[in-house]
Symmetry: C2
Subunit: 235 residues, 2 copies
Amino acid sequence: MSLDINKISVKNSLSSCFGTGLDSISGGDEFLSLLANHADEVNITADNYLLNEGELAEYVYIPISGSVMLERTASNGSRQVYAFLFTGNILGLSTSSIASYNFSAKALSDLSAIRISRQLLEDFFRRSFEISKKYHTRTEIVLSAMLDHLFVMGQRTAHQRLAHFLLDMENRLFCHKGQYNLPMSRQDIADYLGMTVSTACRGFTALKRKGWISIASNSLITIHDKDALEHYITD
Amino acid sequence: MSLDINKISVKNSLSSCFGTGLDSISGGDEFLSLLANHADEVNITADNYLLNEGELAEYVYIPISGSVMLERTASNGSRQVYAFLFTGNILGLSTSSIASYNFSAKALSDLSAIRISRQLLEDFFRRSFEISKKYHTRTEIVLSAMLDHLFVMGQRTAHQRLAHFLLDMENRLFCHKGQYNLPMSRQDIADYLGMTVSTACRGFTALKRKGWISIASNSLITIHDKDALEHYITD
DNA sequence: CGGCAAGATTGATAAATGTCAATTTATGTT
DNA sequence: AACATAAATTGACATTTATCAATCTTGCCG
């Protein structure tokens, strides 16, 4: 199956997130072309699951359009959202090739993604050490991002965590003059940051009152004072 | 330099921790022997740092005796402890070969560790895909453990997190009839679990009052009712 | 063995966050 | 545009956790 590589955005290469730019794992165009010739394209509609925790981890995915949320739900119903992934991010990194997925992936919007068999990926790695190295460096970057998130979760207040999240999204989403659209609900944000929806809402309100952000239509966020936010999250 | 491989414990292979058993990354004895012939041994005394955040990441370490704590301290003094590592655990996994350490490693006790150059490790990987695969599977297991910890941090109360920690330590430390010695201070535990020392202490007291644990001498813990603890942490 | 210093525990209180219900606002449909 | 529905926000109150100081315990060292 053929695929137009140019469709894959290389934005979102930054910071505390699971996936980062596809560009960063390529061993030059050679790798991308290789993948493109062996990748399927999958499409699912909003609110459906691309994969489920516990399923045999057969594929790695890269969203072409739309966004995805990685999550785990416990038996008592509590849910932790692990990450939000956007176009060009890689999904499936954290799963060993012999094991099953340790999270579920839910589409936040209608989604197109390319899908590469882990077996095939492994064959590429076997043939090219350089490609293997790029890919594994990428995994290590994800681990590093997890450390950042863990720090914030353990050492910051609910409102600070929210401010941190908004700055992170400003880096990763398409943003014009400090304005961007959040693709996830308040509940998703709350479950990502380990707080209730009420607390998340009060956080938004608090940041608005300080004049650091404004909210036009629930999902449309404008950052007015990035410096203040950055200072706020470090205490 | 020569090294007695038998000194390296293969316990601690379980659960939510950074490093896990060295056995799991070996490509059979061949790999261990290879490393042993190229490894240095380093020794440092309790409370000193094996490596510091920001330093060029030149080595991977494996403690032979003693234990280590990985941590990050922010400019305002708040500290997140990322992991406790014991003998046989691998230290340095989460750092890309071209970057610097993204945490510091502090000895909890007098420590001996073997030290392998990342450059050398990479040479091994280049030569043997199988060794590379084992190593990177190990990294993915660490990432998976981080997800477990993140879930607990985001979705559980302070006392539940403490109970979870005590069960984890029971798996990983030398334990006889439910009794084991914690090598870290209350402050370290609190910083690992994202709470204050006071809250950690109250947690210990609460678990004692329920009759699920007892504490002989601050560091000597006995688990009396593992089932109750396991039920407690899932709500 | 006694005394000291550091670490651990507890108490009183304040602050942060959760709970649950009411209300408001946004979104999608005719 | 009006409605219906779901999502977001807020208020009142309960619970959890932090803060800070006092007290107790442990481990260490002479």
